[in-house]
Amino acid sequence: MTTYQNNDHLAGDFYTQNFAKTAGEGNLILNLGPQHPSTHGVLRVVVELDGEYIMRAEPVLGYLHRMHEKMAEVKTAAQFIPNMGRVDYGHALGWNWAFVGAAELVGGIEVPERAEYIRVITCELNRIASHLLWWGAYLLDLGAFTPIMYAFDDREKILDILQDPTGSRLTYSYYRIGGVAKDLSADCIRRIQEFIPWFRSRLPMYKDLVSDNIILRKRIEDIGVIEQEVCRRFGATGPVARGSGIKYDVRRAQPYSVYPKLDFEIPTSNLKCARGRYDVRMAEMEQSLRIIEQALEMMPEGEVLVKGAPKPSWKVPKGEGYFAVEGARGKIGAYVVSDGGKNIYRTKLRAPGYCNLSLFAEVSQGTILADAVAILGSLDLIIPEIDR
């Protein structure tokens, strides 16, 4: 007892102390992370606990901060593309697309149609892979160990497919300003065609094993209710906003590429809780399959990289541009300001997870610790993307 009380000199760093200043009498200050099984990397959340109830929570970021925006200032536009794969390992191609799209917007570069379709196909495959990663990891958070293995089994197939054109398995740098790096091979297309029905047949198993399970339903229903107004104030997008009943998808709202030609639905849920976000993501995987199916049919022959595509020494012309794509976690934005110099003057990367996480402090208030973990997981966090 006495030893327990004499540990004031150990009472944490700047953030803990800053947080503890306003803590209530007799409440427990607990650091969830930076090393914690359910923070998916190096997120840290300082929480004030009364028993198991969370009085206050404050996420502390920056443990994986790599200053990509500074790196963008010392590289030419084309040289910066490999960085984008490293921003978000879950949906690397979405980030590829956002930055490449912004450069194309400012540079006024047209992309060949085949390249657009390839982008759609690979991006949607990547989205499924990202959702599977989330699904497995989320259930791991909720204490089910087996689903992640099944999810990775499926995800492995997607990675095998994407390995063909991109050459890598996680941190893709595949899109180029004015197209993509490599055409899809016939073998790759055949494998995608085989994958679609196979994955459709797996989805009922996911439902049986997990989605319908009473324990899971009780764990995620009515947990972390996010009102639409909260989404607005915090700028939450993607499945988080759609799980709150906001029918907002960048692919439809600010259409880019060939998405207007494709027929797909935007799944939403009015439950507003973790269950809503869960349902939206599960439904999105099916929609992605539909998109891929159509895109494969409609894909024309032709070039995949525009003639006279920018070289690495290409200077982005003067001007600014904001290009947003729908990533697996929400709206990925790249804001590019160029003064026409060798390197881009200023690149701002809008990470959807960053905005989604910022509402955690508000939503987690008054919940119990286990729910906080369930909420954290339902926001689908990829820490490298949040810290950039």
Partner: protein, 184 residues
Amino acid sequence: MIKEALNTVSDLWSLMVGLRVTKDYFRAPQVTVRYPWKAVSNIATYKGHLELVGGKTGKPKCISCGMCALACPSNCLTVVKRKPPKPTPEEEQALAEAKAKGEKPKDKTPKDPEKFIYDFTLCSLCGTCMENCPVGALDFTGSAYLAGYSREDFHFDLVQLLKNQAGLEGMDASAAPETGQSEA
């Protein structure tokens, strides 16, 4: 009341359904690859570290233009050009004659690089160098199982690597880094 009871039953039944799924998969064949004993089959499309492509003579196709080094986002390539060979007396004479005539002497320097230093620790395998090579002299190896004991193990001289490969045709690619390193 009855509806509630039915719901409870169906809730409990969902637990049984879950057990059925795991039971089915318990009996299903395994999907993992026992790695050290078996290798994965999809390595063909994988991008490993860079290598120089040999021409017909076995010499690298590379013309030492340095476009790759310029394009590289992470500055991991250094191309060391060859020095012009010391001219023989006859050549020197011819050179003087040509100069007298006002002709520009023909550069006899071999174009292939003397050294092609490649720092794999910095490389992010983006492929920008390959795309900007005017003669297609660079390619990715399929080497996924590269391992080393120190950072220096990943500093390659690609010219040396190519020579070794030509000499050791058919040997495992993973043996290459060590030989490359000893020369670098």
